[in-house]
């Protein structure tokens, strides 16, 4: 218990109905006093302990109270009763770029943001370059934020928050911001936080995100804590809650969108075999692609290795995986090798992009992927033009 990073004890939060925004004296005087009592418990008697160094997920549908609980831990809401203890600096990624002023430059905003989060100017200045490096906008440091694109804005916000080195990081669905490349960078940062043994509390209604990143998760429903446990069990509870109520299952409870990968299986490398010391091919030649796989979780006997091939214009020429071909991997941890063997490559000249992935059979969890990092070059030495090597012959004679 001494290793707790966040202790939530008997926390309840009462939200008044209607009068929550009663913001004029007149309204206060005119409003029927009794109506003030109407409201609901957004949280009711929540007890939770988040251990230091763990990644803890809060799951629930909209209005379940998960975000309310996060805000209480972040101190932007005060619980009606109960106590919350937190260890060290708590930083919330509730929304990126909070407090940025459009008229101030990026640098001025970062300094202000740093002091909002309790840092001293020297601390912020020391990290200034890193922050703009991370946000990939070093050239924009002295430009007013109003000229930033929304992507730059979000990147800078995230960069400030992660460079703050908080002890407890609260994340509320922010990873949905920005382009895919930056998202992956964010996830990488979250992983760094995990590696460094920082505590992360994650709010998401994405079952997959929780499954992929969290050590434990809690399920909330109508302000009550339904259960705390390992992510798969938590997701089952959530699913049962939805089903029990006859509600439509959220997409990601059925077939979750692949967003984050759990690093329990990895692609360690990809190699194309050589013919006469060359890795490029001529049309019709055989091809073997060797994919190095490392699995360190014994439970991962359901790993599927997949490959896709795209042409230069992004058209998918082929996609295949071991599950579709009925191949099961050896049920052992450690280094594996998966060979993709092709008798002949029926392609004419061009550069083709290869992508590889490791996921489970229903693609609900992705362990690793390696997108279009490898290329296959084919040099056309045939008299054909175009895409596919059809090896035609022509017979020509008089008459019909």
């Amino acid at each position: 218990m001494s290793d707790a990073a966040v202790i939530v004890e008997g926390v309840s939060k009462w939200f008044k109905l209607g009068s929550t925004g009663a913001t004029s004296l007149k309204q206060r005087l005119v409003t029927d006093r009794r109506r003030e009592d109407e409201g609901f418990w957004a949280l009711k008697d929540i007890d939770l302990t988040v251990e230091a160094g763990e990644t803890f997920g809060l799951l629930g549908h909209n209005g379940s109270g998960k975000s309310t609980l996060l805000k209480c831990i972040a101190r932007t809401l005060t619980p009606t009763s109960g106590s919350i203890m937190a260890a060290g600096r708590v930083a919330a990624l509730l929304e990126l770029g909070a407090g940025f002023h459009p008229d101030l430059t990026g640098r001025e905003n970062v300094r202000l943001n740093g002091s909002i989060l309790g840092m001293q100017p020297a601390e912020v200045d020391a990290r200034m370059d890193d922050i703009f490096e991370f946000a990939e906008i070093p050239a924009f440091a002295d430009v007013p934020v109003r000229h930033y694109s929304s992507g730059m804005f979000a990147r800078l916000g995230f960069a400030v928050a992660v460079n703050l080195e908080p002890d407890v990081l609260l994340v509320d669905e922010v990873l949905a911001v920005g382009d895919e490349v930056f998202q992956r960078k964010c996830i990488g940062e979250v992983r760094r936080f995990q590696r460094e043994g920082r505590t992360i509390v994650f709010v998401s209604h994405s079952a997959d995100l929780i499954r992929a990143t969290c050590d434990r998760a809690a399920v909330l429903d109508h302000g009550r804590l339904m259960m705390v446990g390992e992510p798969p069990a938590a997701i089952r509870t959530l699913r049962d809650l939805y089903l029990g109520r006859g509600e439509h299952l959220a997409d990601d409870l059925r077939r979750p969108e692949v967003l984050v990968q759990r690093a329990s299986a990895r692609i360690t490398g990809v190699r194309i075999d050589e013919i006469d010391g060359r890795t490029w091919r001529r049309p019709g030649e055989p091809l073997v692609i060797e994919v190095g796989v490392e699995i360190d979780d014994e439970l991962r006997d359901d790993v599927v290795v997949a490959m896709e091939m795209h042409d230069a214009e992004g058209r998918r020429l082929m996609g295949v995986n071991s599950h579709l071909l009925g191949v099961t991997p050896p049920a052992a941890t450690g280094r594996h090798t998966a060979l993709f063997e092709f008798d002949r490559i029926p392609l004419l000249g061009g550069v083709y992009h290869l992508s590889f992935g490791l996921h489970d059979p229903d693609v609900s969890t992705s362990f690793d992927h390696r997108d279009q990092k490898d290329t296959l070059r084919i040099e056309n030495n045939t008299p054909q033009e175009g895409l596919v090597d059809l090896s035609p012959t022509i017979r020509w004679f008089k008459g019909n």
């Binding site: 290793d3 707790a4 008044k16 929550t20 925004g21 913001t23 004029s24 004296l25 206060r28 251990e51 230091a52 160094g53 763990e54 805000k71 972040a74 101190r75 932007t76 809401l77 005060t78 106590s83 919350i84 937190a86 260890a87 060290g88 708590v90 919330a92 509730l94 909070a98 407090g99 008229d103 101030l104 300094r111 002091s115 909002i116 309790g118 840092m119 100017p121 002890d167 992956r184 996830i187 990488g188 992983r191 760094r192 995990q194 460094e196 043994g197 050590d215 434990r216 690093a263 329990s264 990895r266 692609i267 490398g269 490392e294 979780d297 362990f367 690793d368 992927h369 390696r370 997108d371």
Partner: protein, 347 residues
């Protein structure tokens, strides 16, 4: 729990696809020292609140800078407005009071500027403070920091303005060759000091109240207008104190007035001796004319500007404002603590 998950985690960087050297070596998660648990939901005492504000003093400085920087962004004259504003007031009020209403104050412009400076600080800090939390809702809803910093930043910005406008005033003194009462210069710091404390307390109070009742901002405008006219800024204090006589303390119970009058006393440094000489001459003229007003004591003489304002007056009156200021800080923090619990919902 922690150990089983940490082995998992140390091998990360899945998104890169390349071989992570630390991953293949199975680098151990290094254990961070766990900081002490602190209460993040409970009540904080007034002392705790002040200590938290102190911990965030850099934020206070940055917010003041932001407020000053942003206020005139995009305006052609920019920062010059801070200085132009009192000068424009000066022109208008000089015309109205000197030329139209014939207020008999020598060097009226200088007299007016002294009071205006002090008043601008009071009005500026309270107006700014009232909207400070509502206007910063986007930050308040997302990040925790001692919220008292927001109204305090408005007071800080107003204080910086006071200093800048003080430079204009000093310039005016040079141009008009009006020497301030050098020996009493330290009283200016006391006058500003007690007012800062008072405005900080009142600022925290109105900022918190304005979240629940947005009327406060508008009510404040009305109050400030009345307060302005009660503060002996455009008319000489002597005209009030003469009339009140024994009950002069009543006027001085207005907490802005002592600072206003102190500024006038020290900076404007009324040429009361000249006026006394002038009054003697006028009285002699009435006497020579055999006017009955001489015996009745109702002769229309050039009035003194401030009346008897000595060190004792300043010490007691400013001391009173200081005490009131400390009380207002206490009251402000108490109300703030109560209201703050609902900021999250009411913003």
């Amino acid at each position: 729990m922690t150990t089983s998950s940490s082995s998992d985690r140390s091998t990360g960087s899945a998104d890169q696809g390349r071989i992570d050297p630390s991953a293949s070596l199975g680098a151990e998660t290094f254990r961070r020292p766990i900081p002490d648990l602190t209460d993040v939901a409970g009540e904080r005492s007034a002392w705790r609140r002040l200590a938290d504000v102190w911990d965030f003093r850099w934020l206070l400085v940055d917010l003041v800078k932001r407020e000053l920087r942003v206020r005139y962004k995009g305006s052609a004259l920019g920062f010059a407005w801070t200085l132009l504003n009192p000068l424009l007031y000066l022109v208008v009020f000089s015309i109205v009071f000197r030329e139209l209403l014939r207020v008999q104050v020598p060097r009226f412009g200088l007299f007016l500027l002294c009071g205006l400076l002090v008043w601008n600080f009071v009005a500026g800090s309270l107006n700014g403070a009232a909207g400070s939390i509502v206007n910063n809702r986007s930050v308040v809803l997302k990040v925790w920091f001692p919220r008292e910093v927001l109204p305090l930043a408005s007071v800080g910005a107003a204080l910086v303005n006071l200093v800048l406008q003080g430079i204009v005033l000093a310039g005016g003194l040079l141009v008009l060759r009006n020497a301030p009462d050098w020996s009493r210069l330290p009283w200016l710091f006391a006058a500003v000091g007690v007012l800062v404390v008072l405005c900080a307390g009142l600022g925290i109070l109105v900022a918190a109240l304005n979240v629940a009742f947005r009327d406060v901002e508008h009510l404040l405008e009305v109050i400030l207008l009345a307060w302005f006219w009660l503060s002996a800024i455009v008319y000489p204090y002597a005209s009030v104190s003469d009339r009140l006589g024994e009950r002069e303390w009543l006027a001085a119970a207005n907490p802005a007035l002592p600072s206003v009058v102190t500024f006038q006393r020290v900076v404007y440094h009324p040429p009361d001796t000249e006026i006394l000489v002038q009054r003697e001459a006028e009285l002699a003229a009435f006497r020579a004319a055999g006017d009955p007003c001489v015996d009745a004591g109702t002769c229309a003489l050039t009035p003194s500007v401030l009346g008897e304002i000595d060190d004792r007056w300043m010490a007691t009156r400013l001391g009173f404002v200081g005490a009131l200021g400390l009380a207002s800080i206490g009251a402000g923090l108490t109300v703030f603590a109560r209201r703050e619990r609902e900021f999250g919902e009411q913003l």
